[in-house]
Amino acid sequence: MRILVCVKRVPAPGSRINVRSDELNVDTAHLGFTTSPHEECALEEAAQIIEEHGGTVTVLTAGPTEAEEQLRYAASVGGTEFVLIPNDSGHDWDPEHTADAIIQAISGLEAAGGEFDLIMFGNESADAGGYQVGVRVAVALDRPVVNGIKGIDIAEAGFTVRREVDAGYEVYQFPGPAVLGIREGINLPRYPTMKGRLASKKAEITIIASEANPGRQTKVRLHQPEERITETKILGDSADAAGPIVDLLDELGVL
């Protein structure tokens, strides 16, 4: 199996997401960064697939030079090859721009190393949440794509995948090469082992410069949603609060 996983570096904010004074970027001065959660699960899934079936997992990200941190982390949890598409503009690219850059990179990687049997995306990026980069890539490559995937079975005939719906799941089935949008919960991502940490130090990162152009969508301003101000009523500071709590449940008609 030759697998490609596309991951995005995103900030990990706490109780509030602050915006810089330019109103165009999240204030990340005191924040750590992480791999967007759905994609972390996509990478884990890819690692499990090659452990069972053999193969390689190429991990690709488009982002600032610092996104190397997420590629090195990927090396510590099962990635085998690493690609950075540098974006040093200081801003995220719009979704069409990102998709075009990834499509171009894929065509180069496939010309050099053969077709990817499976290309994995997150269902949506944690920060921008555009719900589209994976679909755009799949349509450009004319490969089957389904989002929201929480289960993958691999057989001779191709991929059988499950998508969660409210009361159960839907099953889709198609031959490779294919594209999937993965949801958190498909697995529990592993933590890096000692061996993994060593691999991460040694990982070689291929840089593929992008010639893609911006799309026709322009960010004007980031801002906070209106906050509901709530007066908090304290019901107690010990187990004695059980009485007032059950009074409340009764009042709300859920007792």
Binding site: P13, G129, G215, Q217, R221, Q224, T232, L249
Partner: protein, 324 residues
């Protein structure tokens, strides 16, 4: 006068809850911009939704038919609506940002070579399209402009309050056969598995949720007992699923489930923004936390500043006592 094509979501002919939101949104947008709203019904079985369209005040509906549209398939649905859009050159192609809504619009945008704006709250037209949309699952908003004639856009789920506006005459139903490449059959649903007919996390009226403060998988036993007594469900934070204490199916938040119970009881959860967006639609929130400064405590309507391991068993006892 432009047209608004609106996707009416359904599953094998049965309208999804988002259909009412989509039709209301299309009607209101059309009124605000002097456009005509047109419902798009995908598949022969959806023809029955003509009545729903009339109830929500949409005078014209296109029903797209093809042997490949008998059940949901993202590629076939996307291509079918793309064909209609090429023919009509609408000003707006609209849906509600459900899994299917966003997926189908992404396909249409990719096929038409246009931008797609997911999970919007406000749509305006100046010289350009001006849209306010949600980032971070709604924790942050983004204003964008889009420089195209046709706007492909989804409204965030529950961003529009559904409201009927019945027509006095039936909706005109125009059935249109679309010619789809047989290749698109590959992503049509093959099978379905039903796991539960009962209360789910997203429909429960009581959710008793635990975070890192619960301390272990076993620590959830009293929370389960309370949820059971109240006919509710147990939820949790991502710290809990990451520790392997509970399955991800129980996770509340941006990358978990969005809940809207009558009361959300959050035990040992700090209330990080990604957790909060999943819980904020709850009608009442009770936080049980040892830290009076925790984010969830300051945002909740009710709080108890104490050890959850003492409070929850006492609540279980009290519920039992009153019922006897």
């Amino acid at each position: 006068m432009g047209e608004i094509l609106v996707l009416v979501e359904h599953d094998r002919g049965e309208a999804e809850p988002s259909a009412a939101e989509a039709l209301t949104a299309a009607r209101e947008l059309a009124a605000a911009h002097s456009m005509s709203p047109i419902a798009v019904l995908v598949g022969q079985e959806a023809a029955d939704l003509q009545g729903v369209c009339a109830e929500y005040g949409i005078p014209i509906a296109f029903c797209l038919t093809s042997p490949l549209l008998s059940d949901y398939g993202p590629e076939a649905w996307g291509q079918a609506i793309t064909e209609l859009a090429k023919e009509r050159s609408p000003s707006i192609i609209l849906a509600v940002g459900t899994d299917r809504g966003n997926e189908v619009l992404a396909h249409i945008a990719a096929r038409m070579g246009l931008p797609f704006t997911a999970n919007s709250l406000q749509i305006q037209r100046g010289d350009l399209w001006e849209v306010t949309r949600m980032q971070w699952g709604g924790s942050l908003l983004e204003d964008i402009t889009i420089d195209t004639e046709t706007l492909i856009v989804s409204y965030g789920q529950h961003a529009v309050e559904p409201g009927i506006a019945p027509l006095t005459t039936p909706t005109e139903l125009i059935t249109q056969e679309v010619d789809l490449d047989s290749n698109l059959e590959r992503t049509i649903i093959r099978d379905r598995v039903t796991l539960t007919d009962g209360v789910t996390l997203s429909t429960a009226s009581v959710v008793v949720s635990g975070g890192r403060g619960v301390g272990s998988a076993e620590g959830f036993a009293p929370l389960e007992e309370l949820a059971e007594l109240l006919g509710g469900r147990v939820g949790c934070s991502r710290a809990v699923t990451n520790n392997g204490w509970r399955s991800h199916a129980d996770q509340v938040g941006q990358t978990g489930t969005r809940i809207a119970p009558e009361i959300y009881i959050a035990c040992g959860i700090s209330g990080a923004i990604q957790h909060w967006v999943g819980a904020m639609a709850s009608k009442n929130i009770l936080a049980i936390n040892t830290d009076s400064e925790a984010n969830i405590v300051t945002k909740a309507g009710y709080a108890v500043i104490a050890d959850l391991h003492e409070v929850i068993p006492a609540v279980v006892d009290e519920v039992r006592r009153r019922r006897n």
